[in-house]
């Protein structure tokens, strides 16, 4: 059986890849994907901790499912915003979204 640390290393790696992408990407879609990576790394953690530490409970799995649902909804909203932004300024580069900046 794969030890727990491997899962955790994977999820930490995913988490920091996500954070790095969130900081450095210029495209909003790429930023959104990075956010999804962060969320998924958290989902892995939920599942792993539930599986290894409390094998007879289900809260971790449910939280993971719940987070997937929420992130799906969040992605839908974000995509809608991005489409609207695209309609307005004809691109989705983050540096161009400064209409409302004083």
């Amino acid at each position: 059986m794969v030890p727990m640390e491997y899962y955790l290393i994977l999820s930490t790696f995913m988490m920091f890849v996500g954070i790095y992408g969130f900081f450095t990407r210029k495209n909003i879609l790429a930023i959104l994907i990075s956010v999804e990576l962060i969320l998924n790394s958290v989902d892995i953690n939920f599942a792993v901790f539930n599986r290894f530490l409390f094998p007879d409970k289900l809260e971790g799995h449910f939280f993971a499912l719940f987070a997937i649902g929420v992130s799906a909804a969040e992605t839908a909203v974000a995509i809608a915003i991005i489409i609207n932004i695209y309609r307005n300024i004809r691109n989705i580069q983050i540096k161009n979204i400064n209409e409302m900046k004083g």
Binding site: I19, F22, F23, T24, I31, I94, N98, K101
Partner: protein, 631 residues
Amino acid sequence: MEYTILILLLPFLSFLVLGLAGMYMKSKVAGIIGTISLATVACLSYYTAFSYFTGARNAEGVYPTITAWNFNWLPFSSNLSIDFGFMIDPISVMMLVVISTVSLMVHIYSFGYMHGEKGFQRYYAFLSLFTMSMLGLVVATNIFQMYIFWELVGVSSYLLIGFYYTKDAAIAASKKAFIVTRFADLGFLIGILIYGYYAGTFSFTPQVNALINAGFLIPLALGLMFIGGAGKSAMFPLHIWLPDAMEGPTPVSALIHAATMVVAGVYLVARMFPLYVGYAPDVLHWIAYIAAFTAFYAASVACVQSDIKRVLAFSTISQIGFMMVALGVCTSINPHEGGLGYMASMFHLFTHAMFKALLFLGAGCIIHAVHTNEMSGMGGLRKHMPITHITFLIGCLAIAGIWPFSGFFSKDEILTACFEFSPVMGYIMTAIAGMTAFYMFRLYYGIFWGTPYNKKPNYNPNVHPHECSLSMTIPLMVLAGITCVAGFIPFGHLVSSNGEAYTIHLDTTVMITSLCVAITSILIATWMYAGDKQPVAAMLAKQFKGLHKAAYNRFYLDEIWIFITKKIIFRCISTPIAWFDRHVIDQFFNFTAWGTNAAGEEIRGMQSGNVQQYCMWFLAGSLILTLILIL
């Protein structure tokens, strides 16, 4: 007597109307508004004076002091407050009559004199402002109200001296007048504060206990107040502004710098007279010495000036010196035992205001006719300007002290008071009175007799002297009429040091001496200046060349003042203070501002609006916190 408040309000209203709306009305309309409001004020003043002096005296035989109107403006404590009010007592009523009469005459006269001048409306607005402030000064119920109006008078004097604001000399003169009098008023203000603190009131009648407890501080306060009075009344050595103030229009000189404002200092001392006599007799005598010196100094300078307005200015200084001397030689409040000077001073103030305004307005007519102030452009004008000639002669006779003109009576009372104080003072003042007669007749002959103006070397062929219009000659005739009869007013019955009726009885010796001296001086002046050629005067000027030049340059007092201010005060005090201000105080605040600015520049980068950057900070912060928690 509530209606008296109108005496203050009417000129103020006319000032507001003329000052704000004057530019939209014709100059004639503006002049008529100003004159009508002033005529109303004059009528009210006469009515007030009439009803006050015909009213009942109280049990001690004194005219009661009436506070016709009072408004508690700034209460500091239960008994110390600054009030605004309208006080009626013999000297304030006397001053009301003087100010409104002279002001009305000047208003009428200005119609002719200022005709066609640019800023005619502004001129009348300022005249109204001045009249309001001067009336407010004399009816003040307390010393602080007096001080406020005192400053207002200074401002309006400044505005009127600088009326021809395109003329450099006028601007310089107005600034000089304002700065010198303001400098003196600093003394006045400190005096008021000391007085207010130790006497516990700003009113003119403090508690006796408080005064006794204050000890030497009350004489100090009174002395400081006199410095303010000396500045306004052009006492030596603060007189330097008055001759320069002649740059203003001549009617202004007549109103402000001859009849009313310059006697404010005399009025101040008279107002505080019971305190001076009771608590600071030494200060009072010092006032007499300073004033006597001023009178002598001004008279000697007046003997050689060639600008007719300057001669009159110095004669004003000299005559104010007489009034101050008369106050200063008082030794008690009883007019029968050394308090005569108070009455004499007020009497002289009254008569002098009339005849000096007359002389100035006459000089204005002459300047209007020949377009110069210098005596070198005048001479033999008596045939061309008969009315001006006669009225001017009346003024000269009055100031010289010839019976039956008003100056004779008032000057005689002053000399009597001086002789009562000490014979030396009496003789000195008699001699100065002789000088007065001499220089006034030198002026008179220089203008109306002597070499005719058209035979002088610098004759201007464009000048055709002629009698002035009626608006200018009527005030002359009115004032000359007053000058002829004012001496017969039973002045001692109306105003005296303790308020009781005092019958003026002329001292025969003093009267004969002063008359002889005056007539001798006039004869000398006639001998020296009446002829076509003036060999004696020229010879004397050559003989005492240094003295003549020094006197002509007013004994270099202006230069001394310039030296003291520019070389000593500016260099040794003002420059270091300015350096300290610029380099220490200003730099400190500059540093604070610069520091804030630099800090802002530094942190503005953090607030970029870039969410990714914020996240970076957030992550860094949370990492640090985690590390802290773990370690």
